[in-house]
Chain length 353, copies 2
């Protein structure tokens, strides 16, 4: 939800990805073809480049596709706050601007994560009752996909932050990912409440008080992450960031090792050829690009960060998730959910005294 | 090193593992056959059972294999402190007792991790200058193996703890795993020092002061874990525990998914058959059982926890690692290393004032 009116248009930073603007425009074309776009698409970037690409993809005559010029591009290596201050006409900055101005309800970028977080946090106000936004990430599990938050926006979390992240994650899993009754777990070093740190024990008490609202299942441990025990994993931004990057590193190592072993002898190579479909299917099922990327939650407006190396399929999927979130009124549901949680907690505290 | 004298005998809890005492005795036989045992082996457990098993494995006449009766067994589900208090004659408790009494230099168990940690922490004094012991874990990476600590002994770490863990991990990687110049990294949410929490920034300063002693490479992030960037990963017991269990969960999910995809069609099954060697080799290379299990570091005496499901190969490997550690004088090196680090830090602090 923008500042001024309910708005379901999507602003897209067309310049930030590793694969360049052509892949972004191709993603828009794919999303259109699949019927995933319900409202305007605002493409932000170098005007001439984008106009050429729209012609190439035969999108130039569609009234729902609009161009917004932006002369600069923030590179992946730039420092967050510095980059958005020194490049006010960067595509990423202009994209967030469209949400700030209320022209779009959601922003999508595959550019510099730090810059996107900094820009959105500075330009968009947080939802009433949310102290700090969270960066969430959608991971593949055995038979489900689950949301992990925070994965890096807020390394030093307080219990209030974690409580808010539980509500934000629950609502996102429900409205954007279409999970009917998301199960929420609090990541700890054991499933017994007493095992956790002070922060975990205190957050557990708060989450129990709003258990009816968010389907809180209790503290979970690392073993519960990939085995379909929960749909939302609540953790601080330090642990979440370490976890996200470590799992990505482990997955990369395993792929490399498997490739090395499966190509060691001609016999194995023949076997691998027969298995090509199975190996590719495994990779596809695990590919996080199919799930819309990483949302920045808790701000007025949906902000999605797609992976820097996103191809057209990933872009189209991110558009689909953003459109789904808006169709299900994620923004207004979030405002209500945070207010309800705070009211319940207030009553629970009043009841105690 | 026991309390009284330098001692290279190994005490083994023969009862605690999931596979029972036969697997433990078979592991001893295997380690003997491979020439991995240099000193006495003290087997602790039900006397009759063990005497029968020694006969079965033709070890009963060897003077270096000794039996120690223990009438009780701590189950995996029992609570740590309660279990060791209520079962003073448990094999696990008696095993640690042999190190405490100075009869053995190292203890090995595949029983209840919590009980082993509690028992060792209560019975064995910490090395001079170490505040709390750490549970370390050895993980397979791309081209190396690396030590992660703490993975659960101390969820709420202070900078002094992390500093000591860096020294303990370095020394273990060197003396027990045979890594000539272990590289030590401090796990953070980014490689820039300023990105980390206050704890990380302060620990970084301490580690830099002893950089020459432990080959400290700086803060690392999750991406650096499995790609042969470091040999020792220093982290608090909360993050380490979450990470250890999450990676195990991810690995289990991946194996399940791969199995499902590779057996979906007859063609794929034929391919998988050709690849059997490659898939098994991959699994073997990743199996943490080949690296001696999880050491409890910082106590007077080497304590090794092998996985509950350890087979004879895992037991034999744990014996090999314990023997290597003692052969290289891990215990006395650790005492010196901690003292040296504290001296350097004292001088560095004095120099500052």
């Amino acid at each position: 939800m923008g500042n001024s009116r309910e708005n379901k248009a999507i602003a897209i930073d067309a310049m930030g990805g590793d694969k360049g603007p052509n892949e972004v425009v191709a993603g828009v074309a794919m999303a259109l073809k699949n019927g995933w776009i319900q409202d305007e698409i605002h493409l932000v970037g170098r005007e001439e480049t984008l106009a050429d690409l729209l012609r190439e993809h035969e999108l130039q005559t569609l009234p729902g596709i609009l161009l917004h010029p932006a002369s600069e591009v923030i590179e992946m290596s730039e420092k967050p706050v510095q980059s958005i201050r020194s490049k006010p006409d960067a595509s990423l900055v202009r994209t967030i601007g469209l949400v700030k101005d209320g022209r779009c309800g959601a922003a999508l970028s595959c550019g510099n994560t730090g810059s996107l977080m900094a820009c959105a946090t500075i330009k968009l106000r947080p939802v009433e009752g949310v102290s700090k936004p969270a960066l969430a990430s959608v991971w593949p599990g055995a038979g489900n996909h689950f949301v992990v938050l925070d994965v890096g926006a807020n390394p030093l979390c307080k219990k209030e932050n974690l409580l808010q992240y539980a509500v934000l994650g629950y609502q996102y899993a429900k409205d954007a990912l279409g999970i009917a009754h998301p199960r929420v777990g609090l990541l700890s070093n054991g499933t017994e409440v007493t095992k956790g740190t002070g922060l975990i024990v205190e957050t557990h008490d708060l989450l129990q008080a709003i258990q009816g609202q968010i389907h809180y299942v209790g503290p979970i441990e690392g073993f519960d992450l990939f085995n379909n025990t929960v749909d939302v994993v609540v953790t601080d931004g330090f642990t979440g960031n370490v976890l996200l990057k470590s799992c990505e590193s482990l997955w990369k190592m395993l792929k490399g090792l498997l490739k090395e072993e499966l190509t060691k002898t001609p016999l194995r190579m023949a076997g691998a050829l027969l298995l090509k479909g199975g190996l590719e299917e495994t990779k596809r099922r695990l590919d996080p690009n199919n799930h819309g990327g990483a949302p920045l939650l808790g701000l007025r407006g949906t902000v999605l960060k797609a992976h820097g190396s996103s191809d057209r399929v990933a872009i189209a999927n991110a558009i689909r998730v953003a459109a789904t979130a808006m169709e299900h009124n994620l923004a207004s549901h979030t405002v209500t959910a945070i207010a309800t949680a705070n009211e319940t907690l207030g009553q629970s505290l009043a009841g105690e005294s």
